[in-house]
């Protein structure tokens, strides 16, 4: 199945990558996407979203899903 992957903020900079497409076997998880893309090159906490909703890394994916990885969010104000 085809999965789109996106990275944001500090994570995007560390990986020097904004988005990519992956081909994975049916039933693959968010964790597998992470292993194939981050390659152990990332330190610190990482959050994941599937189709723009927060998910944990054990979540199984479907063909065409968009998966995003990013650091903890820091919006709002002081």
């Amino acid at each position: 199945m085809r999965i789109s992957v996106r990275f944001f903020a500090g994570l995007r900079e560390q990986l020097e990558q904004t988005e990519l497409e992956l081909s994975l076997p049916a039933g693959a998880t968010v964790a597998q996407v992470w292993e194939q893309t981050a390659k152990g090159a990332v330190s610190g906490p990482v959050l994941a979203a599937r189709n723009m909703e927060y998910v944990d890394f054990a979540t199984h994916l479907d063909d065409g899903d968009e998966v995003a990885f990013f650091p903890p969010v820091t919006g709002g104000a002081r």
Partner: protein, 145 residues
């Protein structure tokens, strides 16, 4: 009820004036309006900050703003709510975020506006990169509410 991701400068008082003119319902229902505006400071963690870039995840940022707003309106039975959040390049003094709620009584307005700010900071995909004299850095932690 409206939430907006804004790439242009934000004038909170102009937004509020215009939004209230468009409000549904009789004006006599609203007894309380609570507003919070967060602005860019020129100082953080001991360093002078000259600029701030706010990155977002376009579709998801909008969804998450809509979601926390809907939850606040339901939980406190609000009459209406407006959230406007800046993205892109900001400078010291620029408003970053406007949260406004309209309710029958003041307790709901105070509680809901504060809750919205805490949710916004912890759940909405937005990331701040500060520009310092000695380069730039991602803000990694929120301040306590």
């Amino acid at each position: 009820m409206n939430s907006v991701v804004l790439e242009q400068p934000l004038d909170p008082w102009q937004w509020l004036g215009r939004y209230e003119q468009s409000l549904q319902g009789t004006p006599g229902q609203t007894g309380a309006t609570a507003v919070f505006v967060g602005s860019m400071r020129d100082f953080n963690q001991g360093d002078a900050v000259s600029g701030l870039f706010l990155e977002h995840y376009p579709g998801m940022t909008q969804c998450c703003l809509d979601d926390i707003q809907r939850r606040a309106v339901e939980r406190w039975d609000l009459i209406d709510s407006l959230i406007v959040h800046r993205v892109g390049q900001l400078y010291p003094g620029d408003p970053i975020v406007l949260v406004a709620v309209w309710s029958a009584h003041r307790r709901a307005a105070f509680e809901a506006s504060r809750w919205l700010m805490e949710e916004l900071k912890s759940n909405v995909p937005l990331w701040k990169k500060e520009q310092l004299v000695a380069g730039s850095r991602w803000v990694e932690k929120n301040t306590p509410g």
